[in-house]
Amino acid sequence: MSAIDPASPPEEIVRRQKSPGRGRGVYVVLVVVIGLVLVVVGANAAGLIHLYGGSSTGVCGGNVVLNGAGSTLVAPLMFQWATSYTDSTVNYNSIGSGGGIAQITSKTVDFGASDAPLSSTQRGAIPSPGVVTIPESVGAAVPIYNLPGLNAPLRFNGSALAAIYLGTMTNWNNSELQALNPGVTLPNAAIVPVFRADGSGTTFIWTSYLSSQNTTWRNTLGFSTALVFPAGIGEKGNAGVTQAVKSTVDAIGYVDINYALTDSLSYGAVENPAGHYVLANLSNIASAVQDSNVSFPAATGDWYNVSVLNAKGPQDYPISSFTYLFVYKDLGAAYGSSYGMSKAAALTAFLRYIVSPTGGQSQAAALYYVPLTAQVAANDLTTINSLTFNGGTIPVCSTS
């Protein structure tokens, strides 16, 4: 503090005078930011009320909010339905199939969505009066790969795909794959299989197929939404698998068809039971569902073994499966007195809209989902009409 210039105050004093002002400035900015956030949130909430508000007219109509949760695979389609359906407000929480089953089991949602049917344990955990199973769209798993320089789609069969994922087929230019792809120069490089690290309906479809094709797979690993793969790298979500395959040369992975089509990924053709190599598209998946001619169990029954795998038609894609909605059989008995008849009517109206060929199903193809066949849609409609409210029928509301 020696040699102070008398004209200007010492540095220390200057800082002391400045700093409280600066501190206040920070607080002012903070308060303004918080205030703005609150205003935006408030306006949004008010806007939502305006958007979805309606007039109340008896059982039908009124401002009913329906809540669903589950599968991430059907989430884009579900969001589309929630937007295009204007009679009720539909909130869908894409927390994953396992979460959807957990939420419907604990009755915190009106419908749960899952890419795999309920296992017997899961069905046992669901409280009385139990749920009905409604197949609401079709998923298919396709093999995507990253082999630079290959133009035509590679051909695979069930035994090759199983061997790759078992870790017994380790190099791309092995004789078995080469025999399936005459004229293609396969690289002399290690295969990097990519699987889903999280529980997934796509894994359920994929491993169901591998189990149907390979006895070692069936006996040691089986099929499930989540299992520990013996080889390769695990990634989270369809997006994670896509990203890993895109960024890893020599990788192979499996994703849902709508993902592959949306992202313009190149994927392989798979041999079907008729001996044809089929490159999956919406129509050959639909025809597989058609040709499987599934005899459905009772709506409240065990759907675990329902399968549209390995359909026999010449153009059918072999690796596909339904995705499902779960709704309580008797809505009044399930949710108690707080759940009115008008809510039950609104829920069944929305479900009818989803399965309707001219309603929800007509929007599926644009988002690369396979619409339900007429047979499945008719079966779903019977199931929806069989839902009850404290034992009585639920009135059918006309949709706008």
């Binding site: 396992g98 899961q122 529980g199 793969f229 695990g234 890893t248």
Partner: protein, 335 residues
């Protein structure tokens, strides 16, 4: 023991009685505001303790079904089979967690100590602030960014350059068996080591900077070289602070989730080499929680979180015990 002339002035350290009574106000009655203030701070302190206890209680309560079903066998079972099999054990995940963290420290500690010593002892003064700021910036980067960088930049580099070279030169050790994919335990450890460096460096730097000048000058006056000063004076004097930094860095490595998840390969299996894919406890929870196969897997995942908490706690306690011991040694040395 002469009483100080001015009662408001705090007594000099040498004269202080062993237990200092709390500061007392003279000439004024207790104020209501003060009472509220001390109550509020008391509530805040109690809330922190209460929340920690509540956290453990909730973890134990939420994992009660697997705790009672599997008991201690959860700690030595090596498979994770969701429904319908429903067998859960933590071994591979715990092993991968400890392995990646240990490797991260193995790589990170020399880097961190080196830069901390350089920053405090050798760097020209004008360079210290910029380098220090860069290191602190590294600490502020969100972990997902590290993971993304690891996936985009480090993984291909590891796959095509580092890992084939390691396999060629050190393959005989058996540590580098298998196909080099780049997405594996080694890469995860590298990303973790980079994430622990700023923490360890910043705290070690402060600890080293706190070494009294007189101590260093004493060593220098005895003819010690720079290295000898560092080894005999600086490091022993600051070892408590350095250990605290390492403990914090280890804490970050053990609990890191997203960065690891992106580069470790997420396969639940006991690793056979550093090129194996793995899954740490944190990444296991992040991967499986939303798509858990049922209530039992959820419970098992929460129990995995409990195990991670206990591992972290054990390491923290061990570090604390080590610190206490080293401080006793230090005191003995000085006295």
């Amino acid at each position: 023991m002469g009483s100080p002339a001015n009662p408001t002035e705090s007594p000099a350290a040498g004269n202080a009685p062993p237990e200092v009574p709390p500061a007392q106000r003279v000439n004024r009655a207790p104020v209501l505001g003060d009472y509220f203030f001390s109550t509020l701070t008391g509530i805040a302190a109690a809330a922190v303790v209460g929340l920690s206890l509540l956290l453990v209680a909730v973890l134990v309560y939420s994992s009660r079904s697997t705790l009672s079903l599997f008991g201690p066998s959860f700690l030595w079972t090596t498979v994770w089979r969701p429904a319908p099999a429903n067998v859960f054990g933590i071994v591979p995940a715990a092993e991968d967690t400890l392995l990646t963290s240990a490797l991260a420290l193995l790589i990170g500690i020399p880097l961190s100590l080196g830069s901390a010593i350089f920053l405090t002892q050798h760097a020209p003064t004008w360079l210290r602030a910029p380098i220090g700021q860069v290191i602190e910036l590294l600490a502020a980067i969100p972990s997902i960014v590290f993971g993304f960088w690891g996936l985009i930049v480090l993984v291909p580099f590891e796959r095509y350059r580092v890992e084939p070279a390691l396999q060629g030169t050190l393959g005989w050790t058996g540590l580098f068996n298998g196909t080099p994919i780049g997405i594996d335990i080694l890469t995860a450890s590298l990303v973790l080591s980079i994430m622990t460096v700023p923490t360890i460096t910043a705290i070690s730097r402060d600890a080293i900077a706190a070494v009294p000048r007189s101590q260093k000058e004493a060593a220098l006056s005895l003819g010690a070289t720079d290295w000898e000063v560092t080894r005999t004076v600086v490091l022993p004097y600051s070892q408590g602070g350095i250990a605290a930094g390492i403990a914090l860095g280890l804490g970050r490595a053990l609990g890191e989730t997203m960065a690891v998840l992106l580069v470790i390969g997420n396969r639940f299996a006991i690793p056979s080499s550093l090129f194996s894919q793995g899954e740490t406890i944190a990444s296991l929870i992040a991967n499986d929680f939303t798509e858990a196969s049922g209530p039992l897997e959820l419970s098992a995942l929460i129990e995995a979180g409990l195990v991670l908490l206990l591992i972290t706690l054990a390491i923290n306690l061990a570090a604390r015990a080590y610190l206490a011991r080293s401080q006793v040694h230090e005191g003995g040395f000085e006295g």
